[in-house]
Symmetry: C2
Subunit: 208 residues, 2 copies
DNA sequence: GAAAACATACCGACCAGTTGGTATTGTCGT
DNA sequence: ACGACAATACCAACTGGTCGGTATGTTTTC
């Protein structure tokens, strides 16, 4: 058994948790299992985290930061027109679906389903994660709406619809064992936006 | 301790499971807990179900039947125009959101997130449940599309988008601790359909 | 040498599942 | 109509193992 270099235990535990929680869920992932996957002992676990729930919170917060940094640094942000930027973001989300299913599974979405009543701290972290994820596209949407207002539509509300499509898509993809429904959800979302903003685009048939 | 009448143990266990799984998830709900909630002993549990996983499958199948019968029997099916029927269905789904959060939580959506890799039998049952839920509205959508075809849109694909909106809405509602995002998702879905079918309706602002 | 970062050994509670048994119900020959 | 018998429905106690968590080391870093 190779030893984990000193100072890496915490990061490795969170990485192991990200992987295991996406596959089996939060409750079904045990602390022992986490330690084994991270190559770390239980003493290290409870040195860094006061409880399993504390790890859950840290995991979701790390998820928020990691995905946030990833979206913020992505070249799609350079697209000049705000609405085109939104479409580029949808393309980016589509491309994420090319990875295996457990890898595009959302940590926040998965954990909040199990813990929204039993672990309020995790619920709060997940709520912030989902809100933060919507914030990226919300900024582009706000600019697009400023240039082309749509009656009764706010950037906030539309940004939430992005999260709805992504989260709902993941659930249907898991049920089907196939990313196709998730991709389809993004296709419909794009079509909805093109109708709202009166901006016809390249033909992309949502139906398979 | 009042005894459960003979012959009711199975039904009571499924009812207890529906309640507990919606609140805490599948993995976090123990067999002991289930038996206590149903007022039944462990012997009864394993008399009716070969394993905890077998109960999970039965729970999801029961969910499919119960919700299916509920939607099939509902008066919204009497609305003459197929597209109006679709909008009436959306209204029905909106009204379901008036119950407390754990009660409008979807059993199939919750369990599939936790078990799609660890319990294939439950995953299959959940996939069927979601497909069956879409089937109701798919029939109306097919008729609406027959009368008013939309290029690149199939009834199947659109029916799946209903499930996406519902499932995604539940996740955001759980994160927020508030049904508002789920309602909003249905508002956007309705607006999308009205744009697709060129059928403007009563103004309903999705933004809060 | 003190504090942080681990490791080891262990605890009581709880886990899914099994056991051997009993009460109730249906069935069938007479 | 009735007793023999079997199947079903259920129960209470228990099993080996796992759970989250703790107490107490040992090693490394500053």
């Amino acid at each position: 058994m190779t030893r984990v270099p000193r100072g890496e235990a915490r990061a490795r535990l969170i990485a192991a948790a990200r992987d295991l929680v996406r596959r089996k869920g939060y409750a079904a992932t045990s602390v022992d299992e986490l330690c084994a996957a991270a190559g770390v002992t239980k003493g290290a676990f409870f040195h860094h985290f006061a409880s399993k729930e504390a790890l859950g919170v840290a995991l979701v917060q790390d998820w928020t930061e990691t995905t946030g940094a990833m979206f913020a640094a992505h070249p799609y942000n350079q697209v000049p027109d705000p609405l085109d930027r939104v479409f580029a973001y949808i393309d980016l989300r589509r491309s994420l679906l090319d990875t295996p299913l457990p890898e595009f599974s959302c940590v926040a979405g998965t954990t909040v389903q199990e813990t929204y009543l039993t672990a309020p701290a995790i619920r709060r972290a997940a709520a912030e994660s989902i809100a933060s994820g919507g914030e990226h596209v919300r900024a582009h949407l706000a600019q697009a709406l400023a240039a082309h207002p749509v009656a009764g539509i706010s950037a906030d509300s539309l940004a939430r619809q992005f999260q709805i499509a992504v989260q709902g898509g993941i659930i249907l993809a898991k049920a089907a064992g196939d990313p196709a429904p998730a991709r389809e959800a993004l296709d419909h979302l794009e079509r909805y936006l093109r109708l709202l903003f009166d901006r016809p685009g390249p033909v992309r048939a949502p139906a398979r």
